[in-house]
Symmetry: C2
Subunit: 380 residues, 2 copies
């Protein structure tokens, strides 16, 4: 199901190919987030046009709305949202972290009080895998306990032990035809815990391995460290997925650390605030500097927004609250992330990833505002 | 510039062709409203795909944001919004009505206190035509005084006299190359005033004539009466435009009364509340009845939304606040209005408009909610 095609000489970067029931995914890959069965503001045709070939759905949110009765009747998530390509579903484990105030961790799972109407919802290994089986995702994630980066050593250990135990239970659950299941390595920045968790999951022989417990409000060096600690134990012949990351510059650095798959809400979330990503960093299109700037968001960009509209026009739309403005920034940002990964793959294939990485880092100036947006968990 | 191709035998319905600088418009036609240089939630490619070939812009709103400095620098409205087809611009006369609380009518125009920042803005015949010249619209509207339907006879007469005087001043203003100018007939449901106003405008020899003072909160019979009163005096060889109207059933009835052109915010405005138009009337897609309804909004509809998504999915999107939901309803509703006009034209051409009109009226059940939405002036 996963072929490792090439490994970079200057780093741990890898070129791979993941074959799913709904199509082939070239890695490294950026996956767009469609939490509630829609990549925010973008339609499936636009996604295909911009080269998106795998998207995410979320077990917790879809189970609440529209609910499994409707998703079953629709014939699964692909049919419901009319997306014919691969789908990876998150298990709800991230909501153990992001919805910490409305959940209680128990022996066999987590009890949530619905963020919507207060009704009770129980998610554990059995429930999360059952929902993902019915959703019919190409890749299901195990149900894990994702602890905050401020956890005490005792809390972190408890989360890792729970994650390992639940992973074993997830492994035993029935799957949809052809469905892959990925394990999730937890352990914060504790080397022993990361190793213990990784080794336990590898014993269970999953189809791929994710590094979780990142994108939970930690500073960037801690995030990089957590990925490095998890990655080193993972088998070369299985895909590795860093969950919930990151900015374009971070993605390139994480590829260099051996990561194959990424997902992040940043492209669409910051678009709704008027922020556009470029190879030089992000810019706030609402700013007065762009009011008579008749260039596209980024010169040379092949996205629909850059092919059709100017910064001045998009600024106007954003400032008067026209939906087309945030739509077009969502399109541009999503295409930008996908194109960076296309360039990454071409560089690895051509043996020039080291030079690409240096040049990318030299051009890209990180914006504090965007790093903070990444830290703000709400949408995933 | 306008060719009258055929007149229906059973009614006053007309088939025509209006040639503008940016393309040919077959009439009767529905024009989508892009008040602030965007048809709400829809991009220009989608508009073209659904057969839109003329859209509206608004003098008052565009003059405030983005402002003429930017629109001039962009090279006019077509270039600014990247719409290569014909554009008709409203003059700001409707805002004399809709922004009545923040404006003062004076001898040579109207002083507005900007709804945005309270700054003063003066619009009169000279200003409104100057702005429309710089916008470079294919059809400019004269600056009129649009009175509410609750006006006293004295107020109505004053508005008509002002409208006639200002029309004369508008007629003298320079135009953009190839720009047409339409007069606007006011007079409420007073036969003498409608006649007097129509005759005065015809003396000025405009390129077309609009019936104004409708879609200002009046009941439907009064609206129909106002159009009939205005239409009877208009020359056959010029296009007639009923401003701000209406529901699909009303459009068909207005075509039967000799109207060639329409604009209305209904398709996109009610879409944002989850209302979809069908040949049987409008339906609220958010309703529980559609939660597991896997049919398209309307069977047989060729719009992108109906070709790709089910009622159940759109209902879910609308209920969770996903932008794709209101986008797709905006697309469907806009295509529905355009398709009704395509069918109207085919029926007139084929000599079957009488039957079409009867069948349309028999199928279409008007919804009170939608009629009220039409009456609520906010967006145009």
């Amino acid at each position: 199901m996963f072929e490792l095609l090439k490994t970079d000489v200057s780093s741990k970067a890898r070129l791979g190919r993941l074959t799913t029931t709904h199509g082939v995914v070239d890695t490294p890959v950026f996956m767009s987030v469609g939490t509630q069965a829609s990549v925010k503001a973008i339609d499936p045709r636009e996604l295909r046009d911009m080269g998106a070939n795998i998207i995410l759905g979320n077990t917790y949110h879809l189970n609440i709305r529209p609910g499994m009765e409707i998703l079953r009747a629709a014939g699964g998530l692909h049919a419901f949202m009319n997306w014919q390509g691969p789908i990876l579903t998150d298990s709800g484990g991230f909501q153990v972290f992001s919805l910490a105030t409305i959940r209680k961790i128990q022996q066999h799972g987590v009890e949530f009080r619905s963020h919507l109407d207060g009704s009770l919802l129980f998610l554990g290994p059995k429930e999360a895998m059952g929902i993902q089986r019915e959703l019919g995702s190409d890749i299901a994630m195990v149900f894990d306990d994702c602890p905050p980066h401020t956890s005490t050593p005792r809390e972190l250990r408890a989360a890792v032990e729970r994650t390992m135990r639940w992973a074993g239970e997830c492994r035993e659950q029935p799957r949809a035809p052809g469905q892959m299941v990925f394990g999730i390595v937890q352990g914060g920045i504790n080397p022993e815990l990361r190793e213990e968790c990784a080794r336990a999951l590898i014993q269970l022989d999953f189809n791929g391995y994710a590094i979780g417990g990142v994108s939970v409000g930690e500073p960037e060096p801690e995030m990089m460290r957590a990925v490095e600690l998890g990655e080193q134990f993972l088998p070369a012949d299985k895909p590795r997925y860093a969950m919930g990351l990151g900015t374009p510059a971070q993605l390139v650095e994480l590829v260099a650390r051996g990561v194959d798959m990424f997902d992040c809400v940043l492209p669409t979330r910051v678009a709704r605030n008027g922020t556009a990503f470029t190879r030089k960093g992000s810019i706030s299109i609402k700013g007065g500097a762009y009011k008579a700037d008749f260039r596209p968001i980024e010169e040379g960009c092949d996205c629909f927004a850059c092919q059709n509209f100017t910064r001045a026009y998009l600024r106007h739309l954003l400032n008067v609250g026209e939906i087309l403005g945030l739509r077009m920034l969502s399109v541009h940002n999503t295409r930008m992330f996908i194109k960076v990964m296309e360039d990454v793959r071409a560089a690895i294939a051509g043996g020039s990833f080291g030079a690409f990485r240096r040049e990318f880092a030299a051009n890209y100036v990180p914006t504090q505002k965007v790093l903070l947006a990444r830290a703000a968990v709400a949408e995933r």
